[in-house]
């Protein structure tokens, strides 16, 4: 890896891509992992398996990680993304179970996720609590609320038969041969990229994350932008909640927290794609892809399941260590 390349500014996509590959531990790790698994297992490099990686490993984590990327963009973090996933899932499943139309139930689910985001927004933008502590509080309160709603944590099952067609379609349907969850994830990735790189809101959001005081002195209301960012986090995470419950036709209390640490990991691994260590959608997506490929590949190697977790952890550690040492050298 060359350390002498000049810092990449937002000057043309091709140069950025070349620079990223030359400089980046993440891209190299992704290529290395892909190559190793392709040689090590006969089944890895098959269309069916690659599709399975995208559908089973990638989709939901990608959506939650993109939600997280918005929080990190404004210089924060959201520990309650799982809570938004759960609230959306609960509202969605309960209303479908009560016989409401799927469309209405889905809207309610999105609303529930956005409400979690709005609560965080009040804490962070309204009162001025730091995002880490505010969303930590939300996580704990959300856990209690879910247990109260479900008599101490009982799952809410939908009967396997008689699930509305639209509900099934959201989880297991396909548009032109592409699974619906993947289509939705792709849509969110594109939309998030546009919002964060092309829209005024995204530029302000990133500026808040880099240098809040400059934003304020420019006469821009940072608080409003931070609030909107956190509501967006809840809303995007809610989409993952809807897809999750449509796929497994059940709501399990506090199950969304399983995404939390991986989403944080993917987002921050993604920041290594940017030379200046900024959160970006492309990096987050590559980070999720890396985690997904490793999870799938290790499974195929038939390695003891428990070693798989160690392997994933070591790989993430190595990527982080490489890129941080690299960055330190570059700035020194």
């Amino acid at each position: 890896m060359s350390l002498q390349t000049s810092p990449i500014e937002a000057s043309g996509l091709p140069r950025a891509i070349i620079g990223a590959i030359v400089n980046n531990a993440l891209v190299l790790a992704l290529i290395a992992v892909f190559a190793v698994f392709s040689f090590a297992t006969p089944t890895f490099l098959t269309i069916a398996n690659l599709q399975s990686i995208l559908v089973n490993n990638f989709t939901l984590l990608a959506i939650v990680a993109i939600a997280m990327t918005f929080a990190v963009s404004v210089g924060g973090i959201d520990l309650s993304v799982g809570t938004a996933v759960d609230f959306a899932s609960f509202a969605f499943v309960s209303l479908v179970l009560a016989g409401q139309p799927v469309f209405i139930a889905a809207l309610a689910g999105l609303g529930a996720g956005a409400a979690v985001g709005a609560f965080n927004a009040i804490l962070i933008s309204g009162i001025g609590i730091s995002p880490f502590l505010g969303t930590l509080g939300t996580l704990f309160i959300g856990r209690s609320i879910q247990q109260l709603l479900t008599n101490g944590g009982n799952p809410v099952y939908l009967p396997p038969t008689g699930v509305p067609e639209a509900f099934r379609f959201l989880g297991r349907g396909a548009i032109a041969g592409i699974p619906v969850p993947l289509v939705i994830a792709a849509g969110i990735i594109v939309a998030a990229t546009i919002i964060l790189t092309r829209a005024r809101f995204g530029r302000v959001a990133l500026a808040i994350g880099i240098q809040p005081s400059v934003v304020r002195y420019s006469g821009i209301t940072a608080r409003a932008h931070v609030a909107v960012a956190f509501i967006l986090v809840g809303l995007i995470a809610a989409v993952a909640g809807l897809i999750l419950s449509a796929t497994v036709t059940v709501y399990i209390p506090s199950s969304g927290n399983a995404f939390l640490l991986n989403a944080i990991g993917a987002t921050f691994i993604g920041t290594t794609l940017s030379r200046l260590g900024r959160p970006n959608v492309a990096g987050t997506v590559l980070g999720v892809l890396l985690l997904s490929i490793v999870a799938n590949g290790l499974l195929l190697t038939g390695l003891n399941f428990y070693w798989q977790q160690v392997g994933t952890g070591l790989l993430i550690f190595a990527v982080l260590a490489l890129s941080f040492i690299n960055r330190r050298k570059a700035t020194a």
């Binding site: 973090i77 730091s130 990991g265 260590g277 428990y306 952890g313 550690f317």
Partner: protein
């Protein structure tokens, strides 16, 4: 440089916007907050003791102390990192690997004991495990320059995986003289673990609060540049804090084996409650900074809350909600306070 993340509030308020005699009202509010948290602590004790007669008995208080021992030791370990790393949880002090560390250390202890080695070897192995994990964190943060939140997150995953590899996700039973002693009752019928917690707190408080090293830890955490300018070995102190926290994880692991007479899975569940406890601890200190005694009080506060709920037959599902509300209340109060003082 590192990832540009502020834990510090995203929104800063213009000084002087909030009128009035800011310093005096700030002092008043600070006093109110400190007094308020202590009053809340006492009020909860009074309410519980009035409604549940058994609550304030020596036996029950001893039980709460004993049950709080493991989370107390972990929270104190985290407190050391919070002190040396500074108040910014993302770029500064946090150790997310503590709970997983406890799990792996417990598994190591139980495994070594089961292989027929004595207590001394098993204890040494557990503490060595904890210390090594701390050293890896220290290398990642100080050596490689990874943000602590990420470094310890990655280490947490590795450690949790190693625990599963070692235990194959099963319970490893263990029974040694030390474990029997730890799980027995001491003087006044109070669990031995309660005495362990108190003794551990006293030793930790003595080191952190009353030695030059402890003072240097605070200096490094509050103003690293000034500490460096004053000639303090900033990197070594920060690394030392992570190793100390790792050792606390190893110690908590031994305690957890005695508590459950074996190593069990699911230690990761303790992580966030321990983080909340350690962060809450600073309201019990005079200058609203993390202190060992403050963390002990906050651990006991949560312990009494859980215990009181059980005695009153209030569903324990409320506990995490109350913890969440508490941290939000405390942090809002401190934030509003700082805004006034600014």
């Amino acid at each position: 440089m590192s990832v540009d993340i502020q834990l510090a509030p995203v929104i800063h308020f213009e000084p002087g916007k909030i009128g009035g005699d800011t310093t005096r009202s700030g002092h008043l509010a600070a006093t109110a907050l400190r007094a308020g948290s202590l009053i809340a602590f006492v009020a909860i004790l009074v309410v519980f003791s009035a409604t549940a007669p058994y609550f304030l008995s020596v036996g029950n208080i001893g039980n709460v102390l004993g049950q709080s021992a493991i989370s107390g030791v972990l929270a104190i370990g985290l407190t050391v990192v919070l002190i040396a790393g500074g108040s910014n949880v993302v770029t500064g002090g946090i150790d997310l690997s503590l709970a997983a560390n406890m799990g792996l250390s417990a598994a190591v202890y139980a495994t070594v004991a089961q292989l027929g080695y004595g207590d001394a070897t098993a204890v040494a192995a557990a503490l060595l495990t904890g210390g090594l994990i701390g050293a890896v964190n220290a290398f990642a943060v100080v050596g490689a320059g990874i943000v602590p939140l990420l470094a310890t997150l990655a280490v947490m995953n590795i450690v949790a995986g190693l625990e599963l590899v070692l235990t194959q996700n099963t319970v490893i039973p263990a029974s040694t003289p030390l474990l029997t002693a730890l799980s027995s009752s001491g003087p006044f019928g109070i669990p031995a673990l309660a005495y362990v917690l108190l003794a551990f707190t006293l030793i930790a408080a003595a080191i952190v609060q009353y030695t030059p090293t402890g003072l240097r830890l605070y200096a490094v955490g509050e103003f690293p540049d000034a500490a460096r300018a004053a000639g303090l070995p900033v990197r070594r102190l920060l690394a030392g804090a992570f190793v100390a926290s790792g050792l606390c994880g190893g110690f908590a692991g031994i305690l957890s084996v005695s508590n459950l007479s074996g190593s069990t899975t699911g230690s990761g569940e303790m992580l966030l409650p321990v983080v909340v406890t350690a962060l809450l601890g600073s309201v019990f200190s005079r200058r609203l900074v993390p202190t060992v005694i403050g963390t002990l009080l906050s651990t006991l506060f949560v312990g009494f809350l859980v215990n009181g709920f059980q005695l009153l037959n209030i569903s324990s599902v409320l506990v995490s909600g109350v913890q969440g509300l508490l941290i939000l209340l405390v942090v809002s109060a401190t934030t509003l306070l700082r805004r006034q003082e600014a």
